[in-house]
């Protein structure tokens, strides 16, 4: 029995409480912000590879004030770098990734009509929307958007005299982030409660698809870590606007000795990274879950080691709370503390390695079908290996001394987040598009999108490791102030070239996405031959998801190519045959 009610345009598309619509709202907003954030990176990459050169496109986007004569203003450079990081980490890879797939998939994959509270879910999107508006407004203020890095360390982020972006731009950033965190928390509440309570008959926790496990754990991670960012931000707001000294002490700036005493900037770093580190796993884990699903379906094989995959997700999540100090090895912290964080950080490599081996084992003796989603899932495995391994260098405190805040780190985190997690997101969009919109995305465009992206992306970020080992610091407006970096300009040009190429091909994806919504070939109910519950819903998508009773579940989600079966997949709703055991 579906939930019929009179729908207006407003209640269907704007203030919807249907999880599927809310998911799309997150997706479209995330995609839009992704384009904005990516554009910012192209703008500053132009400056980095051709320092001091005039580019018409810079003036076109930034105007005469921030790109006079087509040359990027150094303060705006720092703003672009800051906003790029903020937008991609939070708006695209957190809200865009989790907001889309948790909202879309959770009720469908567990067999529920909708989330536990459609109202709270709707609020979660509108807080996100409000955060987006505030952040976008901050791009246009007189003194410029926030520019102290996405990590906003005080005192730089607390003192407008230190950098103009720390004026109104930083205030708006803090407001936007507060709204964003509230949105995330509201979403997370629903994801947890829905998965725990609204599973259909037979859907025990051990029959949950891995995507559900990943999203459940991510939601718990978020509830426990995002509020600490709020406390860090609250104290920063007080230091900025009320003159308290939580983070500030012994400062002379602009010729003036400030009154603040007794504060510690390192306190901010601890509070920030207590969220900051779990945050990157909040970004990674949904991608891990999505990729597990897609590799399995397109290999026509169960995901290898389901229990180990669940346990390793939990291990990564647990460990993510006790590694934050590896961002602070060179702050002068107690060396013993540094040792502890090295130890815990390197430990995280173990469950990560287990996951990689399990993916490879899934591909062994598989029957691989190369949908665009599968290509991105394979790309995920490659970039997760590459990016994860360089983490071993960064997590080792002694080695971090010479690579901290260099391009080595920039390469590492872009490969694990900007590549792995984004590939997970792309894979998810290609894979679930038929369920979201009832149509297929164009396959050829998908192939072109993947290959150009895969090659360009490695072209951008792999060379950065060499820049880092050459000692090149990050967040530098230009490398031309130091003769020791003169030899690196060729590498910078290669990076910018691939950045532009990779950036442009994303437009192909955006085109494919919107074209296919309206003109894509009509999808069948289960185009991929997948076992999970969402593929048993009708193509037209209705409130309440299933027209009649919600189906019951009799088996796990990974019976692909099971011996003795007629087809190479057995949906979760199929009862066990006589004498058949569950896996």
């Amino acid at each position: 029995m579906s939930d019929h009610h009179n729908e207006t345009f407003i209640s269907k598309y704007i203030f919807s409480i249907d999880h599927k619509m809310i998911a799309k709202q997150f997706l479209i907003t995330g995609m839009f912000m992704g384009i904005v954030g990516m554009l910012m990176s192209i703008l500053f990459r132009l400056q980095l590879s051709n320092p001091g050169e005039s580019f018409a496109v810079l003036e076109w986007f930034l105007g005469d004030k921030w790109a006079p004569g087509g040359i990027l203003d150094p303060n705006m450079y720092l703003s672009l770098v800051t906003m790029h990081g903020t937008i991609l980490v939070f708006w695209v890879l957190t809200a865009g990734l989790t907001g889309t797939f948790a909202n879309f998939l959770i009720p469908l994959q567990i067999g529920a009509r909708d989330m536990a509270s459609g109202f709270i879910n709707m609020l979660s999107y509108w807080f996100f929307f409000a955060a987006t508006v505030v952040l976008l407004i901050s791009l246009f203020v007189e003194t410029g958007p926030a520019s102290a890095g996405w990590t906003i360390y005080p005192p730089l982020s607390a003192l407008p005299q230190a950098i103009p972006g720390s004026g109104l731009g930083q205030d708006l950033w803090l407001i936007a982030m507060t709204l964003f965190v509230v949105s995330s928390l509201l979403g997370g509440l629903n994801y947890i409660v829905t998965i725990l309570n609204l599973r259909t008959k037979g859907m025990s926790m051990s029959r949950l698809p891995l995507t559900m496990w990943a999203l459940l754990i991510v939601a718990i991670l978020g509830v426990l870590s995002f509020p600490v960012l709020l406390s860090a931000a609250l104290l920063l707001i007080f230091d900025r606007s009320f003159g308290t000294s939580f983070y500030l002490s012994d400062i002379v700036i602009g010729g003036e000795a400030l009154h603040h005493t007794g504060g510690s900037p390192i306190l901010f770093e601890h509070l920030f990274w207590f969220l900051g580190h779990p945050e990157v796993y909040i970004i990674l884990l949904p991608a891990l879950g999505i990729v597990s699903e897609i590799i399995s379906v397109n290999s026509r094989k169960p995901i290898f080691g389901y229990k180990a995959m669940v346990v390793s997700l939990m291990a990564i999540a647990f460990l993510s709370f006790i590694v934050w100090g590896h961002h602070m090895f060179i702050t002068g912290m107690d060396p013993f503390l540094g040792s502890v964080f090295t130890f815990t950080t390197l430990l995280i490599a173990i469950p990560s390695a287990v996951k990689v081996f399990n993916y490879l084992a899934t591909l062994w003796k598989a029957s691989i079908r190369f949908t665009p989603a599968m290509l991105f899932a394979i790309g995920f495995v490659s970039t997760f290996i590459t990016g994860g391994l360089t983490g071993l260098i960064l997590g080792d405190s002694a080695l971090d001394i010479n690579v901290h805040d260099t391009y080595f780190v920039v390469g590492h985190f872009h490969i694990v987040m900007g590549l792995s997690a984004i590939y997970g997101m792309f894979a998810g969009v290609y894979h679930w598009f038929p369920k979201m919109y009832g149509r297929m995305m164009n396959k050829k465009l998908g192939y072109i999108h993947f290959w150009v992206t895969f090659i360009s992306a490695y072209g951008v970020f792999f060379p950065m490791h060499f820049l880092g080992l050459a000692g090149l610091p990050r967040r530098y407006y230009t490398n031309s102030a130091f003769p020791m970096f003169d030899g690196l300009s060729d590498i910078n040009e290669i990076i910018t070239f691939f950045a532009i190429l990779g950036g442009l091909v994303q437009l192909l994806f955006v085109f494919n996405f919107f074209y296919s919504i309206f003109k894509g070939t009509k999808a069948t109910e289960n185009p991929w031959g997948s076992n999970t519950l969402e593929w048993t819903t009708p193509i037209e998508r209705i409130h309440g998801n299933w027209p009649g009773e919600i189906p019951s579940v009799h088996r796990w989600a990974y019976d692909y190519s099971k011996p003795g079966a007629e087809k190479d997949f057995i949906p979760q709703t199929e009862p066990l045959k006589e004498g058949e055991t569950e896996h």
């Binding site: 400062i251 007794g262 290898f304 490879l360 190369f370 394979i378 530098y476 190519s561």
Partner: protein, 325 residues
């Protein structure tokens, strides 16, 4: 001009739309689903993956050989050598794993593509023994990495500084100053409220030990002599990065941080090795504002005699601040 760009963009999109429609109509005529992934697709994509995979690994090798000469020269400090050894060890480890895993990945992709109707998958849901093996193996490897890494860290952070020359490095937007303790081998005390005019470091001139301190624009060090750098910041967080020595430490207003090391090669030795243009440098490595990219201090490592001569030329604080009124 802008209108032209918008028009071109519109035309590109329109063309793409038409191309796609033509493709779909053609497929309809041939009674095929344009978006169905066929065995031909599997063969093509897996072939491309193999080629791209090989090219990718080859490009990594090419990048290494093209750019290895651009990387920092071997460490010129005692602890730096141990760091470099640890780095080489860890790098070789991760490079080997990186290459092996990628070969396995690309090989599986090629071998197990569904190229024909009877390419069926093997139902193999788990194997606990394998899980154990590939949990224990990384654990053993990582234990070695951790123990090795921690021993190097311990060496660096627990260095014996009893015989070190203490020098203060002071960062502010956007330059660095060094302060030498003078004959009394003691740095005078300081207070940020005293920062004014020529007393850029806020040194307390009422403290007797401050009188013979010397504030300089360059950092000079004696080769093979241990030094303890103490860091302060005037305004915001900076980070003193001396990459050739493998030294980095944040400079935080309101606290004092430090790093101990021993330089092992003089600037002139490095000029012989790396070229006449070589200079040691101290750079800022924590975002600090508009000129963050140009906050540097020249570092010179020299013999004791040259160092003494240079230091003798520098004015003491009492000369600079108390006699010039």
């Amino acid at each position: 001009m802008n209108i032209l760009i918008i028009l071109v963009a519109f035309l590109v999109v329109a063309t793409l739309v038409q191309l796609l429609r033509v493709g779909e109509l053609l497929s309809e005529v041939k009674n095929q689903d344009v978006n169905k992934v066929t065995e031909k697709d599997n063969k093509n994509q897996s072939m491309i993956m193999t080629i791209v995979g090989i090219l990718f690994l080859a490009s990594c090798v090419w990048q290494y050989f093209s750019w290895v000469h651009l990387m920092l020269p071997g460490a010129t400090s005692e602890h730096g050598v141990t760091i470099d050894n640890l780095m080489a060890f860890t790098m070789i480890l991760i490079i080997v794993v990186f290459i092996l895993l990628h070969i396995v990945l690309f090989y599986f992709i090629y071998k197990y593509r569904k190229a024909a109707d009877n390419d069926v998958a093997y139902y193999y849901p788990h194997n606990n023994k394998l899980e154990l093996i590939w949990t224990i193996a990384p654990t053993i490897v990582l234990t070695v990495v951790i123990l090795y890494g921690l021993s190097v860290w311990d060496q660096i952070t627990n260095a014996d500084t009893s015989k070190s020359e203490v020098i203060e490095v002071y960062g502010k937007q956007f330059d660095w100053k060094a302060r030498y303790p003078g004959e009394d081998k003691t740095l005078g005390s300081y207070n940020y409220k005293l920062v004014q005019g020529l007393n850029a470091l806020g040194v307390d001139m009422d403290d007797e030990t401050s009188l013979d301190d010397k504030v300089t624009r360059e950092l000079h060090l004696v080769v093979d002599k241990p030094v303890l750098l103490k860091f302060r910041s005037q305004d915001i967080i900076h980070s003193a990065f001396l990459p050739h020595f493998r030294v980095q430490m944040n400079c935080v207003p309101g606290m004092s941080t430090q790093f101990a090391f021993t330089p092992t090669k003089t600037t002139s030795e490095m000029k012989d090795q790396e070229g006449e243009d070589f200079e040691y440098v101290l750079l800022c490595n924590k975002i600090c504002g508009v000129a963050h990219y140009n906050m540097q201090m020249k570092v010179v490592v020299e013999t004791q005699e040259k160092y003494d001569a240079w230091l003798a030329e520098q004015n003491t604080l009492s000369e600079k601040l108390l006699t010039q009124k």
